[in-house]
Amino acid sequence: MRWLPLLVLVLVVSGCGLPRDVDGSLERVRGGALRAGVTDNPPWTEVGDGEPAGAEVELVERFAAGLGTRVEWRRGSESALVTALGNGELDLVVGGFEEQSPWIEQASLTHPYADGHVWALPLGENAWQVEVERFLLALPEGEVDRLTGRP
């Protein structure tokens, strides 16, 4: 086991591009489209007859623009969307979810932003998750309140 520290060192040095995705979500989103699920939960998300709206919808659009890609929206119930996320049909789901959401086993929740709000991501897509979390944590102070129209 004397070689173990050396092995760890080699892995750490070679691992500066970590983490990577299991299914390559980040690359696919960059090269194609961001497949986003949205469920109605004003003021975070508003799903009417037209295009989805709301603070998180706005944030997802802005995030996609930053990656140089477009968003394909899919409407549905929370459970249907989380199932689709687990099947690899979606890259993220928004709907004003909070940290203590019950389906943590089937989806990965982001680092909380704006008073414990989270987005739902597929499990194991860690490069993708880190990219999303960097975006959420970099939001300027008060930006989310301005979007939701909260005092």
Partner: protein, 320 residues
């Protein structure tokens, strides 16, 4: 002849034992700190929950050792006429079962994760205002908890052999199991970083198998111990050389025509019966008492040896 004799370790062994007690207190402090650290830093992750349960099981052998250390050298009393040495054997069994349980848990946990195709999400954390991938933090915590386990385990293994202390041995094995699983978890987290979702569970499965093997070995040895098997060396199944040497030395006495010895292990010490066939009856009582004292001085492990004179010894067919 003195009955209800209190057993004391020889001075050099007693010093070793005091060192072992100190080491075990350090072990408890270390595991308690690790349990707290893991609980605080890595709350929700399943893999870290496993590491947490492992550290809690790691508290069992040192606790068993320390409890046995309080009882082992009490003099025999009316309730326990054979004394309390066996408390060490009981502690050995407790420690071994904990080791086996740990192995079983690691194997079960990693197999379920592997079969379910579970993918571990590891995102960002903010440490002192800096955003870091949580995987690096996990690896750092795991490496920090590995170092003391390696050191403690190595020192204990050495003392366990010199002291003929099998609880300490089981605990050293537990420390080895602990740093091996932590090492496996480091590789697993790195594997997850490389996008290999199965790496974590696969590494844990290999290490779990190794711990189960150790657990089975020590549990068998502990049960054999309580079944009064012939004494075995620490950490192996080979017979201990002392009973053979003692019998040969008894037969070297010129007034002993034949002799038969049966001993069992009670913790640190060996206890049993010695049958001798004397060549004559001149001063036999004194000779027998002298022989008993001589046997106790022969080695510090020989403690409670009953010397019985007989006219002849008929050996059974199964005796070698």
């Amino acid at each position: 002849m003195r009955v209800r004799d209190r057993f004391e370790l020889p001075p050099d062994k007693a010093a070793l034992h005091r060192r072992a007690v100190r080491l075990e207190w350090w072990t408890i402090a270390f595991f308690a700190a690790a349990v707290a650290l893991l609980a605080v830093t890595l709350g929700q992750s399943q893999a870290m929950k496993a590491a947490w349960i492992e550290d809690m099981l790691g508290l069992v052998p040192p606790a068993a050792f320390l409890i046995a250390a309080r009882y082992r050298d009490r003099p025999p009393d009316a309730r326990f006429p054979y004394g309390y040495h066996r408390s060490v054997s009981v502690a050995f069994l407790a420690g071994s079962v904990a080791l086996l349980g740990l192995g079983g848990y690691v194997v079960h946990d990693s197999l379920t994760r592997l079969l379910a195709g579970e993918r571990a999400p590891i995102g960002l954390v903010e440490v002192l205002g800096v955003q870091v991938w949580l995987g690096w933090v996990m690896i750092a915590v795991l490496l920090v908890t590995m170092a003391p386990a390696i050191l403690l385990g190595r020192i204990k293994l050495k003392i366990a052999r010199q002291l003929h202390d099998k609880v300490l041995y089981a605990d050293a094995e537990m420390n080895r199991a602990d740093w091996l699983t932590a090492g496996a978890a480091v590789l697993g987290v790195l594997g997850i970083g490389f996008g290999l979702w199965w790496a974590d569970a696969a590494a844990a499965l290999v290490i779990g198998g190794d711990i189960v093997r150790d657990g089975v070995k020590t549990t068998r040895s502990a049960v054999a111990n309580l079944m009064d098997s012939r004494p075995q060396v620490v950490g192996g199944r080979e017979p201990h050389p002392l009973p053979g040497r003692l019998l040969a030395a008894v037969l070297d006495h010129d007034w002993v025509a034949d002799a038969w010895l049966r001993v069992r292990e009670e913790g640190h010490v060996f206890v049993g019966e010695l049958l001798v066939v004397p060549t004559g009856e001149d001063g036999l009582l004194e000779r027998l008492e002298d022989l008993g004292r001589w046997a106790r001085d022969f080695d510090w492990r020989v403690h409670d040896l009953v010397v019985v004179p007989v006219t002849r010894i008929e050996r059974g067919p199964a005796e070698g």
